[in-house]
């Protein structure tokens, strides 16, 4: 009996020691120690010229000091980012981290240019136990970083479309809140807010990704439309899609002239100068609209979720994730992962937010004071519950299809094509691209 007690005690002690032995190892994971073997490694990454990247740039010296890893940033405008990265991957270049717009993920993953996160998260030496995918908004991990059920990228620069409006202008016109639906915006708000050189609404529609993502896609989804049906045939001639595009034509009456030449800058400026009452723009523009140095209406700025259509809210969804590239050496991959984990994780999320970034960590938006200090937060969180991952199809052929939408989408707005003609034309050309890519003969799975 005594012997047995001893044995149980010994077993308990052993079990305890084992547990303790494991637990302190998890507790004791430190970035400095994990990074030690990679000190002096240089990690190459492409950044855009946007607020989230500015925020990260301010934080990077701290990471470099802690780890001895150098982060080498090449800054490019959005329009060049895809081409530059693809050329780098094809040529076996230097990039160790891929910057992935949600519509590029299929392309990168299918070509084997990026590594699944499991490769690093399964490695206890590299994985910070406090870093968990569950900490992120599920929609963002799904849409920005995952392809065919595998997660490659960690959400880094995160957007949702929001309704930014000039509260003072709305109050003056007798409205005590923003429109709830697109129809209300068109029928009730728009006539009352247009006149004397001012316009109720501006929809950025320049012939680039702005036309396809911010203008075209934004209008078809809430009205029940979409780019493709379940068989990957064009769904642009469906009732919902056509209704959305007709709606855009109707709304143009209340937009400034030359709206097809408006990019983000012109649209944000229109609101900031007090010339336009409402815009739907990415959350990332909040900081410049709320800053009195760049905005005349900083005191009047208010933010709401995008208006709903007959099919629901379906706000624009966009954003970028960071993934480790396959072409990087083992050392560079490890260093790159440590950086991604550090810059996107919960531990630094608040600092990233305070410096002008928009993190994807759910908990940071529940911290006391955050919703009051950043008035876009409640609308953003609400939008991220209702977004559509395939707002724009995420397969490799999207850039080519986007170009088709850009040309004919603008021509519809200019009246060179009717809504129906334009939708059919885009549909035909889009299907030709998908056919060539092998979606219709079963060569490629219908994944978007």
């Amino acid at each position: 009996m005594r012997k047995r007690t001893y044995r149980s005690v010994a077993a308990a002690v052993l079990a305890g020691a084992l547990t303790l032995g494991l637990a302190p190892r998890a507790e004791a994971w430190s970035l400095e120690e994990a990074a030690q073997p990679y000190s002096g490694t240089t990690v190459d990454v492409i950044f855009l010229l946007r607020p989230g990247y500015e925020a990260a740039k301010q934080m990077i010296p701290e990471f470099e000091e802690k780890t001895g890893i150098n982060i080498n940033i090449t800054e490019v405008p959005y329009e060049n980012a895809l081409g530059q990265q693809v050329r780098d991957f094809v040529a076996g270049g230097d990039l160790d981290i891929a910057l992935i717009d949600l519509v590029w993920i299929g392309n990168y993953a299918e070509n084997g240019w990026i590594e699944p996160v499991s490769k690093f998260m399964d490695d206890p030496a590299l994985h910070n136990p406090n870093f968990q995918l569950d900490d992120f908004f599920p929609l963002l991990v799904d849409a920005f970083g995952s392809w065919n059920g595998v997660t490659y990228g960690i959400p880094f620069d995160n957007y949702s479309g929001l309704l930014f409006y000039n509260e003072c202008m709305l109050e003056e016109a007798g409205f005590d809140g923003p429109p709830e639906t697109w129809t209300e915006l068109l029928e009730v708000y728009a006539p009352a807010l247009t006149g004397d050189g001012q316009h109720a609404f501006a929809l950025q529609s320049k012939r680039n990704e702005t036309q396809s993502a911010d203008s075209f896609a934004r209008m078809i989804w809430p009205f029940g439309g979409s780019f493709l049906d379940e068989n990957f045939r064009s769904n642009l001639d469906s009732e919902g899609s056509l209704r959305g595009l007709e709606f855009r034509q109707d709304l143009m009456e209340y937009m400034p002239d030359g709206i097809v030449s408006y990019d983000h800058a012109e649209t944000v400026n229109g609101l900031a100068q007090g010339d336009v009452a409402m815009i739907t723009e990415w959350s990332a523009f909040y900081s410049s609209l709320a800053n009195p140095e760049t905005s005349k209406i900083a005191d009047c700025l208010a933010v709401a979720p995008e208006p709903a259509g007959p099919a629901g809210r379906k706000p624009a969804l966009g954003g970028f994730s960071l993934a480790v590239t396959s072409q990087a050496s083992e050392k560079e991959q490890a260093a790159a992962w440590l950086f991604i984990q550090w810059i996107t994780g919960e531990e630094n999320a608040r600092e990233y937010l305070d410096r002008g970034g928009v993190p994807a960590i759910e908990a940071v938006y529940e911290e006391p004071g955050v919703a009051e200090e950043y008035t876009f937060v409640p609308a953003l969180v609400e939008s991220w519950q209702e977004g559509v991952p395939e707002f724009r199809p995420r397969f490799a052929e999207w850039p080519e299809i986007s170009e088709i939408v850009q040309v004919h989408g603008t021509r519809i707005m200019l009246g060179e094509l009717t809504v129906e003609e334009g939708a059919n034309r885009i549909g035909e050309e889009m299907e030709a691209v998908l056919e060539k890519a092998g979606y219709y003969d079963g060569e490629k799975p219908l994944a978007q």
Partner: protein, 292 residues
């Protein structure tokens, strides 16, 4: 002392130039021809295959290609005469005797547009021609004009591209022609002035023969440049609105680096090259012969 130069010395002098040309010019050209005969998509490199002339067939049957080509030739047909006309006027004005200081000053300021990076010209245009905040509409506003929708309207966007191209390249033409005028021997010109007071006669019979070599160079260079005009338009309108300013080189970029279909883009580029060579040959045959 008519010693034959040894082949080794000939090669030592010519070799570097031939090598540089081979590496920089000929190798990429051969590679482009090779690419144009293949299905070669950067995002689908595992499926590269020889497809003969299929890329050329799809280029030649594509409406987008012919539209873009037509637009490019229209642009060429408008900007080239304008640049030569304005350039000639400026050159003749500066060639007047007794404008020494003014000539130096003007020559200096003529270099400025040419020295501005194409892409920057486009970005400047985006700001200056903005319908609401642009300085151009503000300027016309002083005279009570309504704001003009410069880059949001298809016709106006095309006109804006014409304006910028003429602004940027007329000085080049002017300087080349001015240099041509200075090669006219003074005594011949003086003698001609004693013969006639009609300036166009002097221009036609005395000055023009000396201008032709420069003019042919201008024609060839400006034609090649206009056919591959890209940066300014890309930053100004990105080919829009609709397809109003989608010139051939924008289409090639779109095919090669947005759809990543390098095979198709190479076929388009080779066809553009052939067109450029044909036009250059025509210029040389019809204009240059006169002085030979």
């Amino acid at each position: 002392m008519n010693r034959r130069t040894s082949p080794r010395i000939v090669w030592a002098f010519l070799g570097p130039a031939v090598l540089a040309l081979a590496v920089i010019g000929i190798a990429p050209l051969v590679y482009a021809v090779w690419t144009s005969l293949h299905y070669f998509n950067l995002i689908d490199l595992k499926d590269v295959e020889f497809i003969g002339l299929a890329n050329y067939a799809s280029v030649l049957t594509s409406d987008a290609f012919w539209d873009a080509l037509g637009r490019t030739l229209l642009l060429l047909g408008i900007v080239l005469p304008l640049q030569i006309g304005f350039g000639l006027v400026i050159a003749l004005l500066l060639h007047q005797p007794g404008v020494g200081f003014l000539r130096t000053l003007t020559r200096l300021s003529l270099v400025l547009p040419m020295a501005t990076t194409y892409a920057v010209v486009g970005l400047l245009g985006q700001v200056m021609f903005n319908i609401k905040y642009g300085v151009v509409n503000q300027f016309f506003g002083f005279f009570g004009a309504e704001p003009v929708n410069w880059i949001g309207d298809p016709t106006n966007a095309f006109l804006t591209v014409i304006f910028w191209d003429v602004w940027q390249w007329t000085p080049f033409v002017a300087l080349v022609l001015l240099a041509g005028l200075t090669t006219v021997p003074g005594e011949i010109e003086e003698a001609a002035r004693l013969e006639t007071r009609k300036w166009w006669r002097i221009l036609r019979h005395v000055q023009l023969p000396f201008l032709v070599p420069g003019l042919v160079a201008v024609l060839i260079l400006r034609t090649a440049d206009t056919l591959k005009l890209f940066d300014m338009v890309f930053t100004l309108t990105r080919g829009g609105p609709g397809a109003a300013t989608e010139f051939i080189s924008l289409l090639i970029e779109r095919t090669g680096f947005r759809a990543f279909d390098q095979g198709l883009a190479s076929a388009q580029a080779i066809l553009l090259l052939i067109l450029t060579i044909v036009l250059s040959q025509l210029y040389i045959r019809f204009f240059y012969r006169e002085v030979q």
